[in-house]
């Protein structure tokens, strides 16, 4: 099973969240809304490229619009593999974090 990096997780979750409207600008805005981070397009496309190489998303071309200067949108859609990967990641993360709340956060410090 191919692992996801943190950044890939973030992008993939955005694509999932945006459903049919997942393309560059929208993904960037979504990430900004949720995490407060601005992801440069260069980074964004780099990550999307990696995701499509791993077959977690696939590309589809939309209609050209005026705002884009007559260029088409490139939509990203989830694949089965993407969904599985996210599920897997979530389970793993949950397991890792499961007893975090009950841990002693002050051991060895401040003495």
């Amino acid at each position: 099973m191919k692992e996801l990096t943190k950044a890939e997780e973030m992008v993939l979750l955005s694509v999932l969240r945006l459903k049919d409207e997942a393309y560059g600008v929208a993904i960037k805005k979504n990430i900004k809304e949720i995490t407060g981070k601005t992801v440069p397009y260069g980074t964004l496309y780099f990550l999307l490229d990696k995701l499509s190489v791993k077959d977690f998303v696939h590309k589809a071309l939309g209609e050209p619009t005026a705002e884009r200067g007559g260029r088409r949108k490139t939509y990203y859609r989830m694949t089965e593999g993407g969904i599985t990967a996210l599920k897997h990641a979530f389970e793993q993360q949950s397991r890792i974090w499961t007893d975090f709340a009950s841990m002693d956060l002050h051991q060895g410090f401040g003495k």
């Binding site: 393309y23 560059g24 600008v25 960037k28 440069p40 397009y41 260069g42 496309y45 490229d49 619009t65 005026a66 705002e67 884009r68 200067g69 260029r71 088409r72 949108k73 490139t74």
Partner: protein, 849 residues
């Protein structure tokens, strides 16, 4: 509302930065973000957004790119250094060969530049022309004394005009008196030409008759630190001249050289059209005039004003100031040497480049694997081409630095050789610097082309699999290069031998008159009335054999006058060279008579003004078609007289020219300018002392300027001798560089065949047969080079020698000697390597690698 577009420049920049794959999507996203979120904000915010979208990626792009580049670059440098270090011999030969070649090229370039710069420092040089006149079958720059004044008056297109003639004047102030070269000029001179006036006013400095302008160094000589302005110099002991200006010393690249400038009128009365001797006229054309237009206007001026018969075939033309130095009036001159030396520079540089190419290709085998490895790990062909070009450029730049050092160190010596004072700063105009830099770059590029283009083409798999050296694989090309190189070297050897032989011949040729032990003295005007007494007084010493005076020196008879002779009438005249002489002339110079007798005081008719006696040379007899010439009528200026003698031909001009018809007269219509004193060979000191004593007695105010006739003869060919010298030295250089290349190549080939030689020796080959094996190929190549060089040199030297009317034939043995010399030299070069290879222990050889 129409959506706002990204600025065009930003779109272009972004599309350059974006990856090909996602370019459209990326640009679309940026455009959308800009149109929706950014466009409605204020100007500053828009710029900020654009800035962050463009500049940040740009910076990171450059940084990554540069890091990689720098990495590769330092790797290239390291590789280059390792390669140079691995074979220090080749490296040294490569660099020295190139450096010497470039230094030679630079020297010639500096020389050529200096030659070409003559008279171009005058800001108006393009509009200044010298009037030249076609007369008596040849062009002359001597013009009637009043021509300059007349054309300026008659033609408004001629803005300014001046005469220029160079005279030796004796200038004296207090107890300091020196002979000075004076330029006699008209008032326009200072404003026409760009000789820089330091003190005084160019407009008026030479306006009056007794005004004089002196150079800085002359001023220093006479007055030291005192202000020379307004001081008085006594000229020729006859008249006083007031200094009205101080001028900069004449630049070395000026055709006009003088210590002081004086108004033309200082030497005497206003002279008219009948006065010609040795005075040239310069005109400044008005703006927006064409030369051909002016020539057609001034043509015929002399004929119009001078009604005498002998000038009615004269025709005027203009010669641009800047051509004066390079072109004699017959359209050859130093420009020939400029071409010849440029060609030599090109040949030497080519030889050096060929060496470089040869050695680099020879080394190619060692590099092939490196290139293969680089290609395997992803180097592009362009990258490899760049690397190899870079290496040769680097090497050529190192050689360039070496050559610069060489030039800087050897320039004074070169200056001595060429008779010029050259400094890098002096000729350091931007053209020279640029030219030299271009030479370095072109050398690097040419030298690098072959290895770069050839090596980068190899397929890596082939290179890495084959253990054989690739360098050995292009013998045909290498042979052609060696042949070319030696063809050039042999042709140069032959040429320099021919030229030096010709120069030696010229300097020692019997001119038909005695030139040893003869002193020449310029007769000052003050002495002319007492010339006869002076000659008698001079003759009264045991050390003196003969004293004579004449209008010209025997090897410089160039004056022309109209003559007719038996069978022709006054209107059917022809211009011939002539000179006036006294009775002792022929005896003093040892001139032989084929018929008749020399002039003699016993025959009063010889010097009769209206019906003089004539002596002509053999060439004149043939030219005038006189059979039995003695007693035949001959006439100058309608003064009919009889031929009394025929003198054997002698060289009345330079050896570049044929012997022309010459007429001698014993009348006083033409003043004697020169006195010649022949003395006993062993008694030179006594003779000089005696002459000085007589001089003190006759003209105590004036210095006695003695010259030796054989030195005058030698110095007439000094320039030719210098050229020959330069030629010889550059031939040495070419040979040196060729041999250096051969040495490198021979060493390489020996190395390549180390194993073969080891096996041959192990099987019983003798050292001699090995040496023969190694040298055989070079011998064959040299043979071919000889066959090519001979006709080439023959053709070039035929043309070169055609400028001499009297020349030695091209001897076959010169060609054979040059060829043999080259073969021997090459064999010596190669045999060192061959013997080394032949003498190695086969065990060593077979263990090799």
């Amino acid at each position: 509302m129409k959506a706002l577009q990204l600025p065009i420049a930003a779109q272009w920049m972004l599309s350059r930065l974006a990856q090909q794959k996602n370019r459209l999507a990326l640009l679309g996203d940026l455009q959308e973000e800009y149109a929706v979120d950014i466009a409605h904000r204020d100007w500053l915010a828009r710029q900020q957004w654009l800035f962050s979208q463009i500049v940040f990626p740009l910076i990171s792009f450059l940084r990554t790119h540069y890091l990689w580049r720098r990495g590769m670059f330092s790797n290239y440098l390291k590789t280059a250094w390792r390669n140079l270090k691995r074979s220090p011999g080749y490296t040294a030969i490569n660099i020295i060969g190139l450096a010497v070649g470039m230094a030679a090229c630079m020297f010639i370039f500096i020389w050529v530049q200096d030659e070409l710069s003559f008279d171009r420092f005058h800001t108006k040089h393009e509009r200044i022309h010298r009037i030249v006149i076609h007369r008596g079958g040849e062009w002359t720059a001597s013009a009637p004394y009043s021509l300059a004044r007349t054309v300026k008056k008659d033609f408004p297109d001629i803005a300014q005009a001046t005469r220029f003639t160079s005279r030796t004047l004796f200038a004296k102030t207090g107890d300091r008196g020196f002979n000075e070269t004076a330029g006699l000029v008209d008032p326009d001179f200072l404003t026409m030409f760009s000789f820089k006036l330091i003190k005084g006013d160019a407009e008026t400095a030479l306006a009056t008759e007794d005004a004089i302008v002196i150079t800085q160094s002359a001023a220093l000589k006479y007055f030291g630190d005192a202000d020379p302005m307004g001081q008085v110099l006594r000229i020729n002991g006859q008249r006083d001249a007031t200094i009205t200006g101080v001028i900069q010393d004449t630049p070395k690249n000026s055709s006009m050289q003088f210590d002081l400038l004086a108004n033309f009128k200082i030497v005497g009365k206003q002279m008219d059209f009948s006065w010609w001797t040795g005075c040239s006229s310069y005109v400044l054309l008005a703006q927006n005039t064409t030369v051909s237009d002016i020539i057609s206007k001034i043509e015929g001026t002399v004929v119009k004003y001078d009604k005498r018969v002998e000038t009615n075939d004269s025709r005027e033309s203009l010669q641009p100031l800047a051509r004066m130095h390079l072109y004699h009036l017959n359209e050859t001159g130093p420009i020939l040497y400029v071409y010849i030396f440029s060609a030599i520079a090109a040949i030497i540089l080519l030889i050096a480049c060929i060496n470089f190419i040869n050695l680099s290709t020879a080394q190619a085998g060692k590099r092939a694997r490196e290139i293969g490895m680089r290609k395997t790990v992803g180097a592009s062909r362009a990258g490899i081409v760049r690397q190899l070009y870079g290496e040769t450029l680097l090497l050529s730049l190192i050689a360039f630095l070496f050559s610069l050092v060489m030039v800087a160190l050897l320039l004074p010596g070169f200056g001595q050789m060429t008779g010029k004072t050259l400094t890098l700063m002096d000729t350091g105009q931007w053209q020279v610097v640029l030219g030299i830099l271009c030479i370095a770059l072109i050398t690097g590029l040419i030298s690098g082309s072959y290895p770069a283009l050839l090596l980068s083409r190899y397929r890596p798999i082939q290179v890495l699999r084959d253990s054989a050296s690739k360098g050995a694989k292009s013998p045909a090309l290498r042979r052609i290069l060696v042949v070319f190189q030696f063809t050039a070297a042999i042709a140069l050897i032959i040429s320099s031998m021919v030229i030096l032989r010709q120069l030696n011949y010229v300097q020692h040729k019997d001119l038909g008159f005695i030139r040893e032990n003869i002193i020449r003295i310029d007769i000052p005007r003050a002495l002319r009335p007492n010339l006869q007494t002076a000659k008698e007084r001079l003759n009264q010493d045991a050390s003196i054999i003969n004293v004579t005076s004449a209008n010209t020196t025997p090897n410089q008879i160039r004056n022309v006058n109209p003559f007719y002779w038996e069978g022709r009438g006054p209107n059917d005249y022809e211009t011939l060279n002539f000179t006036t002489v006294d009775e002792n002339y022929f005896q003093t110079f040892g001139l032989k008579f084929t018929e008749g007798r020399p002039f003699s005081a016993e025959f009063a008719s010889d010097s009769d003004r209206e019906s003089p006696g004539y002596i002509i040379n053999e060439a004149a007899v043939a030219h005038c078609d006189l059979k039995d010439p003695i007693g035949k009528m001959f006439s100058i200026w309608n003064r009919e007289g009889r031929v009394v003698g025929v003198v054997k031909d002698f060289h009345s001009r330079s050896l570049h020219d044929e012997i022309r018809p010459v007429v001698f007269l014993n009348t006083e219509n033409w003043p004697h300018y020169w006195m010649f004193i022949r003395y006993q060979p062993e008694m030179q000191d006594e003779a000089v002392a005696h002459i000085q004593a007589v001089w003190q007695e006759m003209v105590p105010d004036l210095p006695c300027d003695m010259e030796y006739l054989d030195e005058i003869h030698r110095s007439a060919y000094a320039n030719d001798a210098r050229i020959g010298n330069i030629f010889r030295n550059f031939t040495y250089l070419a040979i040196f560089i060729s041999c250096l290349g051969l040495l490198g190549l021979a060493a390489y080939l020996a190395e390549l065949r180390t194993k073969e030689i080891g096996i041959r020796k192990a099987l019983g080959a003798s050292s001699l047969s090995i040496a023969r094996l190694m040298s055989g190929e070079f011998l064959m190549l040299l043979g071919v080079s000889n066959l090519l060089a001979w006709p080439l040199a023959w053709w070039a030297m035929r043309r070169m020698l055609s400028s001499w009317a009297y020349r030695l034939p091209l001897a076959w043995w010169l060609f054979a000697a040059a060829g043999l010399g080259a073969v021997i030299l090459a064999l010596l070069t190669v045999s060192w390597q061959s013997l080394k290879a032949a003498h190695t222990n086969p065990v060593e050889a077979l263990k090799y690698e």
